[in-house]
Point group: C2
């Protein structure tokens, strides 16, 4: 057992609470008073554990990225590129509008724009999003159900763009059905855009040829 007075809170639990505050108010808009209140701990405990507001944010975002975003990435295990894209977009749309946490996505709500001294924060978030896009691209590059000559990088960017746009919409109050209807259009369009041997016309992925 560790020596000294035992900690009265769970580190990961308070990180989740902190993430929610950053999510709802952005990095600049999340004050220490609100953070400590939501986390249920007081300032010195926060600083002893995490060091600074920025470090707290990094930790909270890292945890968010490892848990919530990893969920979306599971979509990439689907057997075809078409299915991977669809599951990615649909599970994202669901996650963006679940009631368990603020609407939208911490990677975007956290701070697209920050005060000059907090510019790092925007970079951290952008890096996180870029990682997801890279994972998407990697999956698509391994696909054998895409038309020859398809620009997988641009396709990954397109899918990620759509997801980011949905996050913006969700933060502004769009419903789950609203987002899914947008995904419907995207998937129907993609199904017809690729060669017929790759994407079936009714949205179901089919084996090549």
């Amino acid at each position: 057992m560790s020596i000294g007075r035992p900690r009265a809170f769970d580190e990961e639990a308070v990180l989740d609470r902190a993430a929610e505050v950053f999510w709802r108010h952005g990095y600049d808009g999340a004050s220490l008073s609100e953070l400590t209140r939501a986390m249920g701990i007081n300032r010195p405990s926060l600083y002893a554990t995490f060091g600074s507001k920025e470090e707290l944010f990094r930790r909270a975002f890292a945890r968010y990225h490892e848990t919530k975003v990893a969920n979306a990435r599971a979509a990439l295990d689907q057997p075809t590129a078409y299915a991977a894209i669809e599951v990615f977009l649909r599970s994202s749309a669901d996650a963006l509008t679940t009631g368990d946490h603020p609407p939208g996505c911490l990677s975007i709500q956290g701070g697209l724009a920050c005060s000059p001294e907090n510019a790092h924060v925007a970079e951290v978030l952008a890096t996180g999003r870029a990682d997801t896009e890279a994972a998407l691209e990697e999956r698509l590059s391994r696909a054998d159900d895409l038309p020859d000559g398809m620009d997988v990088r641009a396709l990954a960017r397109f899918v990620m763009t759509l997801s980011e746009g949905h996050a913006v919409h969700a933060a502004a109050g769009a419903s789950r059905d609203d987002l899914q209807a947008s995904v419907d259009i995207a998937m129907r369009a993609l199904a017809h855009s690729a060669s017929r041997r790759s994407f079936s016309s009714d949205g179901e992925p089919v084996a090549a040829e």
Copy 2:
């Protein structure tokens, strides 16, 4: 001529400078010191003219919306829905990556998430975006080159979502070509998705039947 000491600055010019600061740093991240420095005026002049930081923001955003966004809306004058969508997306992508102002879009950079006392600001921005989406929907609902039964509301949302995602990407450093490649995919997909009598297969709009 008006009486008293004449104003030493142009109201609209300083609004543009203010918009840039909000654009780059968000509402919460834009301090009065930085605003006055960029605007080239001092605090009392700012308060005498605009009343408060929030009012300054509203004015700056209104001007932005009337000038920059109106440009994108001009795309809706295109003769067909397909052309309107394409011109809207392409001119947006260009505007998001021009060097004349910060990358991305003030409607999003300004503050998706704000501190609790500034929640109005996020609402103002969301309303602006919703207006654009409504204009898009209105244009599409007048189109006669869309397949019967097309959900124009969802289509407008899809297009707007893509544009918002591009804004997020642009803010993170995506190049103009990056965004246009994403538009390429969207337009190619849409061209094949709708019935052939509506959208030609090579991306050129054609008259209905």
